[in-house]
Symmetry: C2
Subunit: 245 residues, 2 copies
């Protein structure tokens, strides 16, 4: 492949997943070895990121990068912020990595942040020689480059959207229970909701549609399953003027 890369523009993707307990982010291991002795010099974690090519736009670059790094295809990726601090790449590990890589990096790389929300946690661990895995977002730090900053900004963005848009459904399986939904909202928003009031609220949302199907194989009363209908949502949506106390 001889597509030309743009030296100083990259895309980094924050891929978030919910496993019914907490939110995880998909990270790729980065291990620098001494080429002679094969000794590990350092090993850390990065978001799925890479430079863009000259012949692709930003959205395409994001999709390609996610596919190359993680094997995931046809996932919805949204741009959320761009990062261009002067010291983004100046950590010693990053400098060693850049020197050892066969890509000619520019001194100055601006990266465009994308995020994606996934229901599932199933994943091939190895993609094109990359070791990728889910890591709980709580307490994560020490990521490569400025990826801590990018991750925090993505989470902030997500939390904000959660209050006003039915974005949560992207993190849930196609068929989900009201309890799973409540746990997700409580986790993201850091609140607790009263079960009855939460369910009352949900039952008013015409776009959360009950299925003729129940949970199976659980050691308690099986829950009703629901799905999200974007069609109904788009048709019934109204905004509200609610920014005050």
């Amino acid at each position: 492949m001889d597509r030309k890369i743009v030296q100083n523009i990259s895309v980094d993707c924050v891929i978030l997943g919910f496993d019914s307990v907490e939110i995880n982010v998909l990270l790729v291991e980065r291990t620098l070895k001494n080429p002679d002795t094969d000794e590990t010099i350092f090993s850390d974690l990065t978001l799925a990121g890479y430079h863009i090519f000259e012949d692709e736009d930003l959205d395409s670059a994001a999709a390609r990068i996610v596919k190359d790094r993680t094997g995931l295809e046809n996932i919805s990726l949204k741009q959320f912020y761009s990062f261009g601090a002067l010291d983004r790449l100046l950590h010693p590990n990053d400098q060693s990595w850049i020197k050892a890589s066969n890509v000619i990096f520019s001194d100055r790389v601006v990266t465009i942040g994308y995020y994606s929300l996934l229901p599932s946690t199933n994943l091939e661990i190895m993609q094109n020689g990359n070791i990728v895995n889910w890591y709980p977002i709580n307490g994560l730090k020490g990521l490569a480059y400025d990826h801590d900053v990018i991750l925090q900004k993505a989470i902030e963005h997500l939390r904000h959207k959660f209050w006003h848009e039915p974005i949560g459904f992207e993190l849930l399986p196609n068929k989900f229970t009201i309890s799973q939904m409540q746990k997700l909202y409580e986790f993201i928003l850091g609140t607790r909701f009263d079960k009855r009031n939460f369910r009352k609220k949900i039952s008013q949302m015409s776009y959360v549609v009950p299925l003729k199907e129940k949970q199976k194989g659980v050691a308690h009363k099986p829950a009703q399953l629901f799905m999200f209908s974007k069609d109904i949502y788009d048709k019934t949506r109204k905004e509200r003027f609610d920014f005050f106390v």
Copy 2:
């Protein structure tokens, strides 16, 4: 000045202002003349934009560009989206402009969009040889490059924020009347509010504080003036779970 510019990264700033009637955007005239005959080849309008320098981060670049292009200083600029379509610069006018300019443009420029909200419409018309002016956003088109797209995205972003954050105060003078505020909200949100209900709502917002001052020189009952207190807002803010019908 011999700072080095980054060839393929720029910042474009959407500077919006409210004049008590409608929303305007600050645009810079771009006129290409035949260097020999001094004949105008074309003339159109651009957002305030320029390449970034190698030694500045994105926020600093945005502030510098706004200052150079419009003379405005110390205004709050927020990043909102980045644009990297392959055909951003391919319009014949843009190509002629690029060829004629003494800056060596790259084929591929990604631009980071910033916006700013201002109360006032007072402005020097001429800045560093740039002719800058306010233009009503309704019906504007034919801007240079992809600046129509950038402007639309900024407005969309603004409208969205308006519903959930007290961002409107940035577009109002320090001292404003409730009617001015209502007109602004009606303009941006494309709705009408009942005067009494709107005022009732505002009077519940502890962070909209009445001043001991009234309008002067108007040919009707002079209105009470108010100011916005960010302090009180930050202290009393609560989020609400309101994304449904």
